[in-house]
């Protein structure tokens, strides 16, 4: 087996995630076709120069995601990927609005790193000493600001997000399609609040006017990967959350 893709030890992303990506790519590129028996743990350790536990974690995740199947006593094989029977969700502002042909624009007000203060470590289910990527965007339709979105992603989940263009791209697309992090669930909370001075200024509304607050916790399996808080002022546009059940 050629050492085509090397594990980059300088890369912040966990080694097993890198190995996961490399093997996933081999499967998607059909280099390892359906039914192919993948090399044994020992061989993978040697070729990629990683520990057994790294190999095990990567294989485990590939099995969980449906790329590989284990057959007791016979080995691990590339399987035909099955789409899960869960509900899929569309909530990216961009995706919703584009459907109706409405022209919207985004201002990226912040894309930086912080530590989880106040109750953020509980909201993200991480310890207080972990760095978080913070992205703040103002969504406008026909140049009228209507939505403030603040997103918090633990840095170790996807370090490259810090440098991605989040003005043009949807975070969901970046996470799923570019970085292989699959959103499997979301928890939505709805509330009403009165805008504070800063929020009022951003949304071009008076302080203390009412607004909708949508807080969302996004999960990839058991891990919470993102916390997003959106504030929308009353007005011409509605927020849509759509669920679609996918058949096998």
């Amino acid at each position: 087996m050629e050492l085509l893709e090397l594990i980059d030890r300088q890369n912040h992303r966990k080694l097993y995630v890198q190995l996961y990506d490399i093997i996933k790519k081999k499967i998607e590129d059909k280099e390892w076709s359906v039914g192919f028996r993948i090399p044994i743990e020992q061989e993978l350790c040697k070729v990629f120069n990683v520990s057994r536990s790294t190999v095990r974690s990567a294989i485990l995740e590939l099995v969980r995601q449906g790329y590989l199947t284990r057959q007791q006593g016979r080995g691990t094989f590339v399987s035909k990927k099955v789409i899960s029977d869960k509900l899929t969700m569309f909530t990216t502002f961009g995706e919703l609005m584009l459907d109706e042909g409405i022209d919207f624009s985004t201002d990226v007000l912040a894309q930086t790193i912080m530590m989880p203060v106040d109750d953020l470590s509980d909201k993200l289910n991480i310890s207080g000493d972990k760095h978080i990527i913070y992205i703040k965007r103002l969504r406008k339709v026909d140049y009228t600001p209507i939505l403030i979105q603040e997103t918090y992603i633990p840095f170790h989940i996807c370090p490259p997000i810090l440098e991605e263009d989040v003005q043009k791209n949807s975070l969901f697309e970046l996470l799923e399609k570019k970085h292989g992090i699959h959103l499997t669930g979301v928890r939505n909370y709805f509330d009403v609040k009165y805008l504070n001075a800063d929020e009022g200024m951003l949304l071009d509304s008076s302080e203390s006017s009412p607004a909708l607050v949508l807080t969302q916790h996004f999960f990839s399996g058991e891990t919470q990967i993102m916390y997003m808080r959106s504030i929308k002022k009353p007005g011409r546009f509605e927020l849509l959350i759509e669920f679609e059940k996918k058949d096998r």
């Binding site: 912040a110 894309q111 930086t112 912080m114 203060v117 000493d129 760095h131």
Partner: protein, 173 residues
């Protein structure tokens, strides 16, 4: 010094220290220090917080002394009078003690941009250890950011590592 080590050989990862945006308050940073250092019993030298702007550009650093300085009520500062020389009355600190709950707690809501030491000086990854030492000596710094091409923040270099390297060179037979 032999083997000419450069800054990049001694620099540490920027994520060894907490990062905060400049709009965080002093009290938020105090909580972060408690969580990141005190509770996990990590006491690196120096105990510092890095301050960034919205675009993740390094703006400055904060050490414990800067926090105390930010909590000191304004009237404690010596005023500069034209004719008289500056008097420092440490005994006046008793007034700070009594006003702690009102004054200092209010001051703790200031943004950390007002108390940080601006990141004016930096080194490049290929700069010599002695250049870093020079900057630290002459500008009284214990921490220097390492910037690639004057822009990209790639690491931090600390007094402890510089001292270690220079002292090894001195002690070598």
């Amino acid at each position: 010094m032999s083997k000419s080590k450069v800054v990049k050989d001694l620099m540490i990862d920027v994520f060894e220290y907490p990062h905060v945006p400049y709009w965080f308050t002093i009290s938020q940073v105090i909580k972060i220090i408690k969580v990141s250092f005190v509770s996990s019993k990590k006491y690196p030298e120096p105990l510092a917080i890095l301050v960034f702007d919205e675009k993740y550009n390094l703006m400055g650093t904060i050490v414990l002394k800067d926090i105390l300085s930010g909590l000191e009520p304004r009237f404690m500062r010596p005023t500069e009078k034209a004719q008289a020389y500056i008097q420092e009355e440490a005994e006046l600190s008793i007034i700070w003690d009594t006003l702690f709950n009102t004054e200092s707690k209010k001051l703790a809501e200031k943004p950390v941009s007002e108390i940080m030491v601006p990141a004016k000086y930096f080194v490049e990854p290929d700069d010599s250890i002695t250049k870093a030492a020079y900057l630290m000596i002459h500008h009284d710094l214990v921490l220097l950011p390492v910037l690639e091409n004057k822009k990209k923040f790639v690491g931090l270099i600390r007094l402890v590592e510089i001292f270690d390297e220079i002292s090894n060179a001195i002690l070598k037979e």
